[in-house]
């Protein structure tokens, strides 16, 4: 019998990819939360559910999204503070 794939894992990957494309940070955070939930779900299923790899990919891409966002934000703040005066 074919194993079922965890929906949470699929949504984790989708959200994380959105996090590095169209929906920065929010997509990444949602992807991370769903990814960790999916990992726990697949582990608890005792092999009945597939998708641990998808969840792992969602988590890795989610952290990459958070990292890119944090670095971009820091760079933006530094440039703004050193260059512009506030009005």
């Amino acid at each position: 019998m074919a194993k079922k794939t965890s929906n949470l894992a699929v949504w984790s990957l989708v959200s994380s990819i959105l996090g590095v494309t169209g929906l920065p940070i929010i997509g990444s955070i949602v992807g991370l939360v769903l990814g960790y939930m999916a990992k726990r779900e697949t582990d608890a299923s005792g092999g009945a559910l597939e998708g641990r790899g998808l969840a792992k990919a969602g988590i890795i891409i989610g952290w990459i999204g958070v990292g890119i966002f944090t670095l971009s934000l820091c760079a933006f703040v530094v440039i703004m503070v050193l260059t512009f005066r506030v009005s």
């Binding site: 703040v77 530094v78 703004m80 503070v81 260059t83 512009f84 005066r85 009005s87």
Partner: protein, 215 residues
């Protein structure tokens, strides 16, 4: 078409006026920034709540959905409460509503308002600069406009920094990071700032590019 052209001309004139005032006086007049934000926020509240209660009487303009107007009204409430920690409640609700049920337009405006508010409270933008961004993103809730404004600040800032500061840049960056981690950014009144050019003309230039070359 005619209305869109008139609106673009009026918004362009407003931007040029604000840029000139900012260069001359280093401040922006309340009537040209605060009052439009109050009107737009108030209108969003009336339309959002009104359309929810009387869907056949009130319709949100600009193809906005009812949830977009409601989310913007919540973001407006967060701005009104921004001197208190209570602002986190409507701010979080606005993000959740826009992310879950809003359109791309609504998300752009709501996130733009809240990011501008956060940046203003952190001292990265001036309050006047933040209001200019809020008004622009409410009138033209387009992710391309947000991108152009960010790019204008980033590109102009980087070029000026590299040209004027050169080799001292790493030390200055270190100072800002250290101050930021300590919870305060350096004062930017013009005396302490490294370059200290006004921000509004840069925002105006970005918005004018969007209005006349992109829309």
């Amino acid at each position: 078409m005619g209305f869109s052209l008139i609106a673009r001309v009026l918004v362009s004139a407003w931007l040029v006026y604000l840029a000139i005032v900012d260069v001359r006086r280093s401040s922006l007049p309340h009537w040209a920034t605060t009052i439009p934000v109050l009107i737009i926020g108030g209108a969003a509240a009336v339309v959002g709540v009104g359309e929810l209660i009387f869907p056949t009487v009130l319709r949100a303009p600009l193809d906005w959905g009812v949830y977009d107007a409601l989310a913007l009204a919540l973001a407006f409430l967060a701005i009104l409460l921004s001197d208190t920690a209570a602002a986190l409640v409507p701010g979080t609700a606005a993000v959740a509503l826009a992310a879950a049920l809003g359109s791309a337009q609504g998300r752009t405006a709501v996130f733009g308002w809240l990011v501008s508010l956060a940046m203003s409270r952190a001292g990265v933008f001036g309050a006047g600069d933040a209001k200019v961004i809020m008004i622009l993103l409410a009138l033209y809730p387009d992710p391309r406009l947000a991108g152009i404004l960010l790019a204008a600040c980033g590109v102009v800032g980087t070029v000026l920094l590299v040209r004027k500061v050169g080799g001292a840049a790493p030390l200055l960056v270190q100072r800002v990071v250290k101050d930021g981690l300590a919870g305060s950014l350096p004062a930017r009144t013009g005396e302490e700032g490294v370059i200290a050019i006004p921000l509004t003309p840069v925002l105006a230039a970005g918005a004018l590019i969007y209005l006349w070359l992109v829309v």
